[in-house]
């Protein structure tokens, strides 16, 4: 494959960002939207062609003779050369020096991510053309800036997923963080938006510190940044799929598997490296306890929430773990940490989502919970083994399920967010109490939102059913406890999504305030909803087992609808029952106005309070930062700085000042005094000279 197209995929959004950012104010606002959207459309087409070529062209670069999918480095250029290559007399490179490269790595997950990112990004661009206008169709202030930022984000995210080495990934990782910061703080005159953007930036930056240290440890011991080398490690019982020099693979394997790496605090240094890298992923993917920024990030415009904080950027953590998965597989203790963090977060976020009033907050916590599903799914993945009941569990099923869920979740969560945006745009409030009974007024939004809810709840045949079922199957294959836990969370998911649905669209008749009657939004906003709803209906039938697996080896044989073959009907029936129970409970409680929710709330006031206040995590952070870090640590340091360090310097200045004041009388400016002094001095000298002479 030529490298022109991959370069264009990255270059077009970057160029659009520069164009709109620099020249945006010289063009009409609407024009900026048209340029941004059409540029994204071109990127979408190019990405689709690239992904299609990768998956279906049969090119030997991308698929081996045995049907295994390969990693292909389309191009890889040196960006920063730190130490020179060692070259022998014949001009051959003996040993590569330390360099950071920028390139384009195409494999199954990056091709899949290209599709996800460009699809959602294009939908969001299109949608923003309608959303960022008022009811008279006049563009908001900063319209061009908004599209410039969206392009910057798309560029960064695409660069992140196609990174050829972990350092390139880190660079783009920070770039998505920066564009997320800019977009959360888009309404920069609103104090809550400003503090939310700061919070997101600081929390993720704190996590990225761990990521950076992890990268340094990892690359120090393995001697490479490249994913192709890092992830080509042969694992016991499996063939080395991606052909890389045997020496490197053997070296990395010896570090990881044969515990040649030194120990630190009782664990292998490589486990620490992976856990620290996972910490970066926890920050970006809002896993507990670093989740606190995501709900506040909803201060940004709703299309931004759909693009960044639901579908693409927040799954970067999952993508990171998936990218380094062969390494995690050799350090199963790191995978156990991933599982525990994911499972706890999933339950926590689902519980909190049940007690939120702001509809975007509900969706934000639902996003956290769903990402945690993906994490758990990665965490329970092991190489082929038999489960407790004696069934053969397919190797890497959890990995496939995680990527599958990432794909389907991006579609239906973007749909839900865009639907929520349409509601907010029509009502002018984030609060469901201002909505109630909107189904007759906004039929398109209602039906697409319902499809989104059904998809996330996991009702057959919508997308979420297949991916969630495979996650649960993978969990059952690993540990029954986590499987039951996650099944309960799946039920809770169905409950809180339908609670939201019924409270928005049913509950009671909508009270129309004034002359403004809520109605469906213009086509730029409804078309993305319809397209995403259509995708959510059919995305479950994508044969992911064939396309995306951890080692490129298809999970099942031929056949397009492999997901149906892959279904474990025992698990499917259980999860379906749980989901339907969740929906029925929600229906009973919220379909018509009734005192039941109020009764339940007063029956369990403590639980409701804790869920409503997100288990007081923000308060805990406030306590730690303000009461402990600021008061106990920063204030003494500030005192030391102000009084000891500054004090020393100040005292030098003060002493000089005092001394000069004391002796300034000598400079009387009276010439006669000077003459006196001069005369006396001359006399003294004369006398002394005479005494000496005599």
């Amino acid at each position: 494959m030529e490298s022109t197209m991959p370069v264009l995929i990255l270059a077009i959004p970057l160029f659009t960002f520069l164009l709109l950012g620099l020249l945006g104010k010289f063009m009409q606002r609407g024009m900026a939207g048209v340029i941004g959207t059409s540029a994204m459309g071109i990127t979408l087409v190019l990405s689709y062609i690239t992904a299609f070529t990768y998956f279906f062209s049969g090119n030997p670069l991308f698929i081996s003779a045995g049907g295994d999918r390969l990693q292909a480095v389309i191009f890889n250029t040196v960006w920063l050369q730190f130490t020179p290559d060692q070259i022998d007399a014949a001009g051959q490179i003996v040993k590569h020096g330390l360099a950071i490269k920028l390139g384009f790595l195409l494999d199954s997950i990056s091709a899949m991510m290209l599709v996800v990112i460009t699809t959602i990004s294009f939908m969001v661009h299109l949608y923003s053309n309608g959303y960022m206008r008022d009811h008279h169709g006049v563009c908001e202030k900063g319209f061009q800036r908004f599209f410039a930022y969206l392009s910057l984000f798309s560029f960064s995210m695409l660069g992140l997923v196609v990174a050829t080495n972990i350092f390139q990934m880190y660079i783009f990782w920070e770039l998505v963080g920066a564009s997320s910061y800019l977009l959360i703080g888009f309404y920069y005159t609103k104090p809550s938006a400003v503090s939310a953007s700061k919070k997101a930036f600081i929390v993720t930056r704190f996590a990225d510190l761990g990521f950076l240290i992890g990268i340094l440890i990892l690359s120090y011991y393995t001697g490479t940044f490249n994913f192709t080398e890092l992830t080509s490690v042969p694992v016991e019982g499996l063939n080395d799929v991606y052909a890389v020099s045997a020496g490197t693979a053997e070296h990395i394997r010896s570090i990881f598997a044969d515990s040649k790496a030194p120990l630190f605090m009782g664990a292998s240094v490589m486990t620490w490296a992976l856990v620290l890298i996972f910490m970066g992923g926890m920050g970006k993917s809002a896993m507990m306890p670093l989740h606190i920024w995501l709900p506040d990030a909803m201060e940004g415009p709703t299309p931004v929430s759909a693009l960044i904080h639901a579908a693409t950027m927040v799954v970067a953590g999952v993508y990171l773990v998936a990218r380094l998965f062969p390494l995690f597989l050799m350090q199963t203790s790191a995978l156990d940490i991933v599982t525990v963090v994911g499972a706890v977060t999933a339950l926590y976020a689902a519980m909190v989502a049940c007690a939120q009033i702001d509809i975007k907050r509900v969706l934000a916590f639902s996003t956290i919970s769903q990402i945690a599903f993906m994490m758990v799914s990665l965490g329970v993945t092991r190489i082929a083994h038999t489960d407790a009941l004696g069934h053969e569990v397919h190797e890497g099923l959890g990995y496939m399920a995680s990527m599958f869920h990432l794909f389907t979740h991006a579609m239906f969560k973007a749909l839900l967010f865009l639907g929520a945006g349409a509601l907010i745009h029509a009502i002018g409030s984030n609060d469901y109490t201002a909505m109630h009974g909107l189904r007759k007024y906004m039929p398109v939004t209602h039906w697409t939102f319902l499809i989104g809810c059904l998809a996330i709840a996991g009702i057959i045949p919508f997308a979420g059913f297949f991916s969630k079922d495979e996650i649960l199957t993978a969990c059952f294959g690993h540990s029954t406890v986590w499987a039951i836990w996650m099944t309960l969370v799946a039920g809770l998911t169905a409950f809180y999504m339908f609670r939201l649905y019924f409270l928005i669209f049913w509950w009671k008749e909508h009270k129309v305030h004034g002359e403004h009657v809520p109605h469906d939004q213009p086509w730029t906003m409804t078309l993305p909803l319809i397209i995403l709803a259509a995708i959510s209906c059919v995305a479950g039938f994508v044969p992911f087992g064939n396309l995306v697996t951890w080692n490129g080896h298809p999970i099942t044989g031929a056949g397009f609808f492999t997901n149906l073959d892959n279904l474990n009907w025992n698990v499917a029936v259980i999860s379906l029952c749980v989901a339907i129970i969740g929906i029925l409970v929600a229906m009973k409680m919220y379909r018509k106005e009734n005192p039941l929710p109020e009764k339940m709330r007063s029956a369990l006031p403590r639980l409701w309070d804790w869920c409503h206040h997100r288990f007081y995590w923000d308060e805990l952070y406030m306590f730690i930062t303000h009461k402990i870090i600021f008061d106990r640590v920063c204030k003494p340091i500030a005192w030391f700085d102000r009084h000891v360090i500054d004090g020393t310097m100040d005292s030098f200045a003060t002493m000089t000042n005092r001394l000069s004041v004391a002796i300034k009388g000598l400079q009387s400016g009276r010439i006669q005094n000077y003459v006196w002094v001069y005369l006396l001095g001359a006399l003294v000298l004369a006398v002394v000279t005479m005494l000496c002479v005599l």
């Binding site: 300034k664 400079q667 400016g669 009276r670 006669q672 003459v675 006196w676 005369l679």
Partner: protein, 103 residues
């Protein structure tokens, strides 16, 4: 009475001491200027005397004296101009009172 160097140098010394005394004690700027001229002139006398008695064959002392007189005239003119300007701005020629430009 034989004319020796002392006959010239002693009056010159008296003149110089008067000049120094006047320079230190007077408060009037004009008086200070006069004292200054007194000192200069006593030095001029010394020049001439030393030239006349010690090196009768040469003329450097004489020339320097003439030179110093010319410089002193210019300097006096300058000083007077300054004093007049000071007087215009502070209506005073008392050297103690002129402290406007002090720190």
């Amino acid at each position: 009475m034989e004319k020796t160097m002392l006959c010239y140098l002693i009056p010159s010394l008296i003149m110089f001491c008067c000049g120094v005394y006047g320079f230190i004690t007077r408060k009037n700027m004009i008086a200070i200027l006069i004292s200054l001229e007194l000192m200069l002139n006593s030095v001029d006398i010394n020049f001439v005397v030393f030239n006349r008695f010690l090196f009768p064959g040469s003329m450097e002392g004489m020339f320097f004296t003439l030179f110093a007189i010319a410089i002193a005239a210019a300097e006096t003119a300058l000083a007077i101009a300054i004093i007049i300007n000071v007087f215009r701005s502070v209506k005073n020629v008392d050297v103690e009172e002129v402290s406007k430009m002090k720190f």
